[in-house]
Symmetry: C2
Subunit: 546 residues, 2 copies
């Protein structure tokens, strides 16, 4: 051994931010304004929480659930469980009772830390989650009077009170489990992705790169993406390591409150799904001059692809760089990233060309491998035209699901992502669709995402969703559902004429339906499974089949 | 296994830059101007070199020596050996024949790739380096007619010609050896530090962080630090991963040529020892307006601490941020780093206060641990005053020397760095001295570095070197050697009066000697061992002992 083989444990980097910038703040939105605590306090409280968890019988490898919004106590739970070697199981507060019951039992969570406002939802599971010995209730203003019949409830503050503020983090195997996150399954039961110390450590380092999100200790981060989605995209870890100021919206996810928080706390970088950024755009347009978002320099957009028109609006109107990221729970999640300028040769591109690149899913993070394959797992050319299944592998990519391996989702060490796309000559990944959302018409594929992005650029359209409908001759044909901008009606022929400027005749939707809203999944994406089910329940038929 | 355990091999990241930015350039200075090749060509040639090395019998773990300047072929040797699993042994071209012979034999190098202009020095070892089966000669303009009696010489181009341009990089253990670099020993034989794939991979990721050197694919890097010093501070690896343009000065290390190269190639980031930056400063001052260095945004300075006045000059005159780094061959080398603004709280500091921080060795890189200890290895307080031995540990820190473990240089898993320093309340490391260069006077320590930095800020002083001289009463007393600025004489009393503004009376040098030059080590640091030896040979005695 010539070099030290120190294990890559999150405990080796988590305390660093608090050590270097002890007075930096963690700000949590409350019903009364905001709650502030320093990084040093956060670190000390995390160490106290670890002691309290240990006293409650939690051992290395035990699952500790959180049923929480983004807030300082959720951050402490991240820090404490990672440090002590327990496994943080982030429960999505938007799941159905049925899914929630399934995943708590599947993971055998021993404890659940729950935000008091979320107690009623958990309460519904009383008697159905036998592994849970105790709930720890995080109380925010307005919820001091909580009560529950869940087992052995204790207030979070009482739970950690009096515990020592330094826990001697154990040296465990770097491939030990760190976290558990279930994917919002579109078919069957949710599947658990188990993150490990080494995988998350490497993901954290990659996220801190200049050519990644460029996160720095000088940043004020507002992670809007919930901490129960793929570890909040890894941002809480990276920010703890660097010592960033963090601003956490808790349950106040309305766009007005988010915009106020960004303005009042001087947020420089934020992260969320496109629907959040669509909402803030609408708010700013409806209230000119009301929100000073000048501190904001970049927002990371993931979960689904932001429309190019949205990316451009943020740059032209607010001077904010929207960074597109692509990944999924199974990829920790950062796999590719697209920024305005990612190569030296792009410095001299026109702004229009730069934004053409941002509209792509991006370039691969160092250390990962990614390629597109045909049905027989032959690699396909990188010509920007050939579409194939996207497979990815590398040190922060899932190799099996938790206690449910699902070997058909993997091939020869690669994760079969379920997304299809192309890779262009500049090595940009371009997502065509989720494979299940592609429209297969007459043996050809039509990208629902491309049609949606094109339609939503029309000023009279607020949202657009394209789904396949069965057709006896073509197998499937696309139908567009559109939500109109306030006070406007959307004209079918106008939408089709607009699409005809960019798509071939056979790619145009067979129908355009104006709807009040598009149903969303628990992760804020358009829920096309529900859209398709609704159409079926309504007895919808394509125009030429009526 | 829940996450993929892909090994951290350099081959997983080295080809990335050429894939993403194939037309980016590697520029090498030659006697006729510069030689250019694209990243794609560089990658292909590296794969060809690997095939050629394999055909020459090189197997995984075999040592391949390089006796080369910074240039495209040296970069190809880095890339090829790392990819194929051989061990790159970078030989310092400035070593004595005796040391060179020792380290080639100690490492059992099987092949040496040598720049043709360096053949005469290697030639001196004919018959004394039996492990070397073959030399591969890299020929630059002006050296086409090389000849040598070294074994089985072959021209580099002939060696790689016709080889396939893709080598299927093997999957080896991530703790396999990658490189070998001997430290310029101040006592005894040179000691080898063996880098491993995992250690260098993690170092590369850390170097690419925003809060580290901030290297980006949009940068044009000119690594002036030789690639035979601690893997060129790791910069060649990071630049290959990101796909940076790289500008390599080869043997043209004079400051005029360096400044021309920076100007003509639009270099944005460079790295070198303080003497280089002192030299370029002198050149710019002597030739106002001659060199357009406006593309340059930051220079990394390491090897020894740059004087604060130099750091400030670069910022005030050129708008260039000097980044101070601290480390050594044993630390891969990046351990701490200091930039103008490294924390959010520093954004509001005055420029003077920001530069006070840059004058410190900096903040610890994520993943490492560092502390100061007393003689009994008790940790000392971080009060900015208490001085102790600096120990460091982590995944890119050496754990023993190559075939020469030297357990006394390590303690309980920590590397004893041989530097002494303090840590302030903001967690900045401040180097007082190499422990062997500290002046121990009357039981107290005097920092030679602090005195030097103070003296060199005088306009009439170009360089200053402080060494200890034996004293019967005080054990040791400091003596300052100064090189005057051109056309000036340095007045001893003026130097002492200047020192008295910042140092206690007992800390002032006992003597100030004006000299023509200060001898440098092969790594460009002031060679205090030689300075002390020269004084002894001259029969120097302290004033109060005459």
């Amino acid at each position: 051994m010539a070099m030290q083989h120190s294990p890559l444990l999150m405990s080796r980097i988590l305390d660093r931010g608090a050590r270097l910038s002890p007075n930096e703040e963690i700000v949590t939105a409350t019903a009364e304004g905001v709650r502030r605590q320093t990084l040093r306090e956060t670190r000390n409280r995390a160490h106290q929480l670890a002691h309290a968890l240990k006293a409650a019988g939690i051992r290395e490898g035990d699952r500790v659930g959180t049923f929480m919004w983004n807030g300082s106590r959720h951050l402490e739970a991240y820090h404490a469980t990672a440090g002590m070697g327990a496994v943080l199981h982030t429960l999505n507060v938007r799941l159905s009772d049925k899914d929630l019951e399934y995943i708590i039992n599947h993971a055998s969570d021993r404890l659940i830390i729950v935000d008091a406002d979320q107690l009623p939802q958990l309460e519904a599971l009383v008697g159905r989650i036998p592994s849970v010995e105790r709930v720890i209730v995080a109380t925010e203003p307005g919820f001091e009077g909580w009560s529950t019949t869940l087992p052995n409830p204790v207030d979070y503050e009482a739970f950690i009170a009096g515990q020592p503020t330094t826990y001697d983090w154990p040296e465990i195997d770097e491939n030990s489990a760190l976290g558990l996150c279930y994917t919002s399954g579109t078919t069957g039961n949710p599947k658990g992705v188990e993150y490990e110390h080494r995988s998350q450590y490497l993901h954290t380092m990659a996220q801190a790169m200049t050519d990644s999100m460029g996160l720095s200790a000088t940043d004020t981060l507002c992670g809007i993406v919930p901490m129960f989605h793929a570890m909040g995209w890894g941002l809480p870890w990276t920010a703890l390591m660097l010592g960033c100021k963090q601003v956490m919206p808790h349950r106040f996810m309305g766009v007005e409150r988010l915009a106020e928080l960004i303005a009042s706390e001087g947020v420089t970088v934020s992260a969320g799904v496109p629907t959040i950024w669509q909402g803030i755009k609408g708010l700013v347009e409806a209230n000119p001059g009301k929100y000073d978002l000048s501190s904001l320099s970049r927002v990371t957009c993931g979960g689904s692809a932001p429309p190019p028109s949205l990316i451009r609006w943020y740059w032209d109107t607010l001077g904010v760089e929207m960074i597109q990221g692509w990944g999924m729970t199974e990829t920790s999640p950062l796999a590719t990233l697209s920024r305005r300028v990612m190569k030296r040769s792009q410095l001299k591109l026109s702004e229009d060309d730069q934004f053409r690149n941002v509209a792509k899913a991006g370039l691969l993070m160092p250390g990962l491998e990614l390629d597109i394959f045909d049905d027989n797992f032959n690699r396909l050319p990188h010509d920007g035209e050939t579409v194939g299944e996207i497979l990815v592998r590398g040190p922060w990519i899932c190799s099996e699901y938790y206690h449910n391996p699902q070997p058909e989702k993997f091939h020869d060490g690669w994760l079969i992502t379920g997304d299809v796309g192309k890779i262009d000559a500049d090595e940009y990944l371009i997502i065509s669709d989720r494979s299940k959302d592609l429209v297969k018409s007459g043996g050809e594929w039509i990208s629902s995402v491309d049609l949606e992005n094109h339609i939503v650029a029309m000023p009279e359209v607020a949202q657009a969703c394209v789904v396949a409908q069965p057709h006896p001759k073509w197998d499937e044909r696309p139908v567009a559902l559109v939500v109109a901008a306030p006070g406007v009606t959307v004209d079918k022929d106008k939408v089709l004429a607009h699409c005809a400027t960019a798509f071939a005749r056979w790619q145009l939707p067979d129908d355009v339906l104006q709807v009040e809203s598009i149903p969303l999944t628990s992760t804020g994406k358009m829920d096309k499974k529900v859209v398709r089910a609704n159409l079926e329940n309504q007895g919808y038929r394509l125009p030429d089949l009526r």
